[in-house]
Symmetry: D2
Subunit: 193 residues, 4 copies
């Protein structure tokens, strides 16, 4: 099983839960600047695709994946088995529940926050080491705005950047390469000073 960053989407065992697409997963992992022996949290881990890629990039590190839905939890475990990943711990909870037990973190990624972004950020703030990175992926105006608001209030402690990434695939349909849009994703990266 190769462990290049950028596992194709269809290599993951998938259910009905939306999965972060390959290009966004690649950018997310890169923005996290994962140390080889890092300890990170994946909040709202969904199918676990980001957890898996992170775990593969950190053979001496550890990923704590928090997910509330049983289907997601099962997928994370199934994908961990498929990709022979042993350094993921699944926490079955709806964040911020389950976060108190986390150790100090080198990085955190938020893929889903229910409607509890602020308490999640408050708790992460206590866990993230100086220099740690936080990456948030989202598709809603409200989530990115709330994250920006939180970081602006914490501007003594964090610097951040926001990008919005839109990937169009060009499907091969007969003689043509035809545009097929994917939904644009906001990727916020914050660094704790």
């Amino acid at each position: 099983m190769k462990t290049f960053l950028g596992i194709p989407d269809d290599s993951f065992i998938r259910g009905k839960i939306p999965m972060t697409k390959q290009e966004i997963r690649i950018l997310t992992i890169a923005k996290l600047c994962l140390p080889e022996d890092g300890v990170i949290a994946d909040i709202g881990a969904g199918t676990g695709s980001i957890s898996i890629e992170a775990a593969l990039q950190m053979p001496k590190g550890h990923v704590f994946s928090i997910e509330r839905k049983q289907e997601g939890i099962d997928l994370i475990k199934a994908n961990s088995a498929k990709f022979e990943v042993n350094n993921i711990t699944v926490i079955e909870a709806e964040a911020p529940d389950g976060m108190a037990e986390l150790p100090e973190l080198d990085a955190a990624v938020i893929g889903g926050s229910g409607s509890k972004l602020s308490p999640i950020l408050d708790l992460l703030d206590r866990k993230l080491k100086h220099g740690a990175r936080l990456v948030l992926n989202c598709v809603t105006l409200q989530t990115i705005s709330q994250a920006s608001d939180w970081l602006r209030k914490a501007k003594e402690e964090y610097i951040y950047e926001i990008i919005q990434v839109q990937v169009n695939r060009w499907d091969q349909i007969g003689l043509y390469d035809m545009a097929k849009a994917l939904n644009p994703i906001f990727i916020l990266t914050a660094v704790k000073k």
Copy 2:
């Protein structure tokens, strides 16, 4: 029945044929610079949504809509009835067939060209008046490239611009405005000198 430019998508009678979305339709009509008494052709008219909007903007003008599929032809007629439009003539043919009979044109729009873009452009070239505008909408690399190639060869006679427009809708899902991408469209506008 109001006749503002920009009829909502769901006001049209629609079948299974893909329909140009409202924003692209608005930009297409604007780029055509339709004279009130203009004579235009809509090649590959599909559901007729562009023909209808053009006809409504040219109460003293006329639209020739060329469409090969029976479903499309029926939809153009049904939409003409719904919007009380009397200045559309449907030509049941696969362009460039059916184009020889067209009169001189003030403008033309190409929404679909099968794989016959070059002969369609050659024929339109003979019909378009000086100062006439040609607008082509497409979603494939090959179509926009071929159109650009054709226009570059005809650069003594035409000037053109190409834009690519991507519209993301932000659907209201509970407490959130959530991004939903539409496919990006190339809009080529050429003016005959």
Copy 3:
């Protein structure tokens, strides 16, 4: 002087104030559904490009253009003269100042709101007729979020849609058509019930 919707950007007299680009202007005017004899307000009118297009589309109507900067005011007047438009009244103020004197409105467009979006929306709410349309163009997360928040609180009175439009121009550089991005714009359209 032709009065097609969609005046080319370089036909306007321009200063250093950023100007809404042609495609966004076209979509904005279309979303406003301007009645021929409508009365509308253009808040933060900038160079007046939207005011001019609206005035040309409403030969029997009237546009009140509110602009705080002297350069903007001068440009609106210069462009009104150039396009022979007589149905624009410039109000030299920083909105919401200057808005109390507005008559009842068929539509309003907000192109700039300083940091006073909420009081501007509160005042417009008193001026907009039932069925009137409000279109807001913006390039910041905060403005679109605040507008969405305001409309969600007023959901008994308004329905709204948000789109984000990104236009890429393909400049002709030698043998190539080369992509040049324009900044993406949020266009919010609200209809008062």
Copy 4:
């Protein structure tokens, strides 16, 4: 010097030559699936930013960077020194010149092809191993179309995907996060069967 994938743009020594932006560089490297001991070619290496990132990802591998402009060659060398990279060989030539001497390749990236894409692809075809990956970045319709044409003719030997990636940065301007578009980039990835 850290060697995470995704060196910030402003860490590179830059001249007037356009540089691939960080997010596109990250995706390019990921799509290349670089083996740790791989041998790759970077055609039209420009400032060398992709060569540097590739070299850092392949500590036991080697990068051949072909660049025609003296400014580019100087920048590649300066950046190699800055990032303490010893596994880059600069070939001072305008591709396809200089390519005949390349060894068998595990991967190739084309960042610039002048107007010589076809002969470059023909030559690469002879150098790429089975299973090797070719990634082409471009911003013009003609280059992506020509590459697609070439690959469609070689469809017995290659599979390919095309994506178009658009990144919008949200700059922090006072109280606002404001959209700033980057030009959209086509990223073509081909795998030799």
